[in-house]
């Protein structure tokens, strides 16, 4: 079954034409990466799916249902987004409890306390953090809160926008392990945006390389591991990553 399908997706910010003719099929349970440099439109694709970039033409289907251009509650239950910077994406004056509980209130879901505790333990946050504010947490703990928030409605798809690029390498490892475990336990589908190819190699099954708003190549992660990408631009990205690793 297809979790996310994008057909001829063109996204605009006012006059600016950001992506051109993006076509993607992401299977249920798959972990898919969009890679490319700043300005390539990769984050914009995520935003359009999440409903944060409403000006688009083409088709966005999630589990076979077309996505509307506006806010869509049924959609929110299936698909949630985790943002890049845990220092910017959590409300500074809301406790962890308030942040996590908000989604339940909006969707009229009861059993609040038990569900918050369940999600907190699944992302590895101790109960003592429940009534703390973001400034009392470290970067890694904040990103765990951000992931927990996305999981509150038990979605099937997570959109991950550079989930570890604001973190130290040692903390990055913890968050990557957590995402991998959550995906197995809850049978999630990931669509991740990143410019870090080793992270793709660790966490994803397939990847698409974007440049100037277009997808230039879709490949298996096995191809990436073997250094077997075809498009000249993807090869360039790969060589830069490889050069730093040595």
């Amino acid at each position: 079954m297809t979790a996310i399908s994008l057909k001829n997706l063109d996204i605009f910010y006012g006059e600016a034409h950001i992506t051109h003719d993006v076509n993607l099929e992401i299977a249920d349970g798959e972990s898919f990466a969009l890679v490319g440099e700043s300005g390539s439109g990769k984050s914009t694709v995520l935003k359009a799916i999440a409903g944060l970039a409403p000006e688009w033409t083409g088709e966005i289907n999630v589990f076979g249902k077309p996505r509307s251009h506006g806010i869509d509650r049924a959609f929110s239950r299936q698909c949630q987004m985790v943002f890049q910077d845990p220092y910017g994406s959590l409300h500074p004056r809301k406790t962890v409890d308030a942040t996590l509980g908000e989604a339940l209130t909006i969707h009229g879901i009861g059993d609040r306390s038990a569900r918050i505790e369940e999600v907190m333990s699944s992302v590895g946050l101790d109960r003592k953090f429940r009534f703390r504010f973001p400034h009392q947490l470290s970067g890694g703990q904040r990103q765990r809160v951000a992931i927990a928030r996305a999981l509150m409605l038990k979605p099937k798809v997570l959109l991950l926008d550079e989930p570890t690029s604001a973190l130290d390498v040692s903390v990055q490892a913890e968050i990557l392990n957590l995402l991998k475990r959550l995906r197995q336990e809850q049978n999630l589908t990931f669509l991740m945006v990143t410019h870090n190819l080793p992270v793709v190699s660790f966490l994803c099954d397939r990847l698409a390389v974007m440049r100037q708003g277009r997808i230039v190549e879709v490949a298996d992660v096995a191809d990436l591991k073997r250094g077997d990408l075809k498009d000249p631009y993807s090869r360039e990205l790969m060589h830069i990553s490889a050069a730093h690793a040595n």
């Binding site: 440099e37 970067g139 130290d168 490892a173 190699s201 660790f202 591991k225 730093h244």
Partner: protein, 277 residues
């Protein structure tokens, strides 16, 4: 030849309600005209070390050292006023994020010129020429156009190159680069570091490259200090980083995913192993 920079027993402390917190604890090193990398996680004291060299630790933080000399000058006894001819002109610092470090209401050309004019008097035509040459040397293709732009009109990578141009135009002897590329993409990162590297080599400057990225540091430096909770836990040549002995350094190296990753789980640092002595 005398070392460019000598530091002995550097300490930086911040008062907290629970008593003083030492963020740099007795750091010592000497630096010649070479490229030194300082690596560590957030909170390891690496940025504070960089700022201490310029005496830029803000109150209520306090900086003390047994020795802090730069090119034979004792920085410890210098007043704020006496530090000014050193900051920028002889030791300069590239900050992390061009978005917050450039003045949003001055054009790029004016800002770079200001860095030069603060330290010397020059005729306007000469200033203009120097600014344009400097922009060219950080590989900005169209310097005349870019000099007239404001910071919000350029990309992150270009902003960081402008910062580097600004820091290098007074021709300092020592450049401190504090996470100069962590706000940038991988592809732009390499370009910016290559520019720094080339300029440092050509002018025979000293470089202190502060970063949390072990791979970057090992490919752009000669020598590496690994810091953890304010102390140097390991010092080694860049090429020998992979043979590092300290469990902290080894843990950091192991936690980085590789391009040909086969591990199903990444090893995570066990902080209890060395945190308490």
């Amino acid at each position: 030849m005398n070392p460019l920079l000598e530091i002995e027993n550097l300490r930086v402390t911040f008062p907290t309600p629970r008593g003083d917190l030492e963020v740099v604890r007795g750091l010592s090193f000497t630096l010649g005209r070479e490229r030194l990398g300082i690596v560590g996680e957030s909170g390891s004291g690496k940025s504070m070390t960089g700022r201490s060299i310029l005496k830029l630790v803000r109150a209520p933080g306090r900086m003390t050292a047994d020795k802090l000399t730069f090119d034979g000058i004792d920085l410890l006894t210098r007043s704020e006023r006496q530090m000014r001819p050193i900051r920028g002109a002889r030791i300069s610092m590239v900050m992390q994020d061009p978005k917050f470090s450039l003045n949003p209401v001055m054009t790029i050309g004016e800002q770079i010129a200001e860095a030069l004019l603060t330290h010397q008097r020059l005729p306007r035509r000469e200033v203009n020429n120097r600014v344009l040459t400097m922009l060219e040397s950080v590989r900005i293709a169209d310097p005349e156009r870019v000099a007239k732009l404001y910071p919000h009109e350029v990309s992150g990578g270009m902003g960081q190159r402008v910062m580097i141009a600004m820091m290098l135009i007074p021709e300092p002897d020592l450049l401190i680069a504090d996470e100069p590329t962590s706000a940038l993409d991988v592809s732009v990162q390499a370009q910016v570091l290559d520019i720094i590297d080339e300029l440092v080599k050509r002018k025979g400057m000293g470089l202190i490259f502060i970063s949390h990225d072990l791979n970057l540091v090992s490919s752009y430096c000669d020598r590496i200090l690994v810091m953890n909770t304010g102390e140097v836990v390991e010092e080694c040549k860049a090429g020998e980083l992979m043979n590092a002995k300290h469990p902290y350094t080894r843990g950091l190296i192991a936690s980085i995913p590789r391009l040909d990753e086969t591990r199903t789980e990444l090893p995570v640092l066990d902080r209890s192993a060395w945190a308490k002595k």
